[in-house]
Subunit: 216 residues, 2 copies
Amino acid sequence: MTQFKPTERTQVRRLPARASYDSETVYPILDEGFICHVGFVVDGQPYVIPTAYGRAGDVLYIHGSSASRMLRTLTEGADVCVTVTLLDGLVLARAAFHHSMNYRSVVILGRAKVIEGREEKLRALEILTEHIVRGRWKDVRHPTDLELKATTVLALPLAEVSAKIRTGPPKDDEEDYQLSIWAGVLPLPVTPSAPIADPRLTEGIETPSYVRNYFR
Amino acid sequence: MTQFKPTERTQVRRLPARASYDSETVYPILDEGFICHVGFVVDGQPYVIPTAYGRAGDVLYIHGSSASRMLRTLTEGADVCVTVTLLDGLVLARAAFHHSMNYRSVVILGRAKVIEGREEKLRALEILTEHIVRGRWKDVRHPTDLELKATTVLALPLAEVSAKIRTGPPKDDEEDYQLSIWAGVLPLPVTPSAPIADPRLTEGIETPSYVRNYFR
């Protein structure tokens, strides 16, 4: 287990009891999610862009078109914040004030490095693909040199990291528990529905088990 | 319908065919979601924090503890980016390069204003609560003056806004369609499961229909 050192920037001040700074808490959240929100600054203006990611060890990989503003900015070594949020459910308290959500989130600060070498780049793309659909990489047509060139792959070290988690029932003020108001949690899981085959799929190709039995 | 004017900052440059700038596209995305990622800058460092929101007309409301760094920063009139992302499914192409996701996202830039008046603040909290669970506000114990004081409510004008949407099957290179590789879309809807009553719920209180039949 890695114990991340909380910094002035990652220390959770609001509801610190919800905070964690160790890899045993952080990595399962990162491994269950696959969409992050990337924050970066251009001319003083923050931007927040959703994108896919993958994790291996203490590195988070993101990728995209070399032409995108986000990738260009991060390639230049800009300060970045990557946030992953898993929403688990709505928390309905008796008091409006105590309504909340159950969630698990991770905030990563740092600067990304460009993955340059062909083999390292391919390996990072494999990690990204497998992070999202385990079992997929061996089946697909791998990137050509041209495709590799059009793709920027970035590695963000998992060093300045915090997690924040809320679980469990609502917490109302003691005097409100007697009120005749329903309270509880509405779980909101992401549940895969039936795969939709490409209309141009060649006849006779079966849906792979990693798609049929997809779960996170 | 409002036509938002794309600015230098909101104009989508990557895959511009996926972009929209009108309220008929943007508002349904904002109304289906209820978690946004708020980007702001402190000492040059971007931060991205997930939080709940509500919308009414051309205003997005967010709220939180007056003590939080995010709320304090935004209260000071900092430039903000609020992003809402709805993930619809995984897009599995024949080529690794063409793997993608179906999503609908909205990016809002601007500066938030603090809601000061008691009535206006209560109204904004009602909008926030109803945005997340329609029908809830009439049932709950409303905020006290002390609770109102502890809560900062911000209004962000929906003016500098863009949406980006991907739908439909994978798009492979023409020569790859003949490959014996399964391709298609795996839908990943958020599906409410059975509500979990608070263990301290007074006996005889029924689960409200807006919880039993929750959908977005």
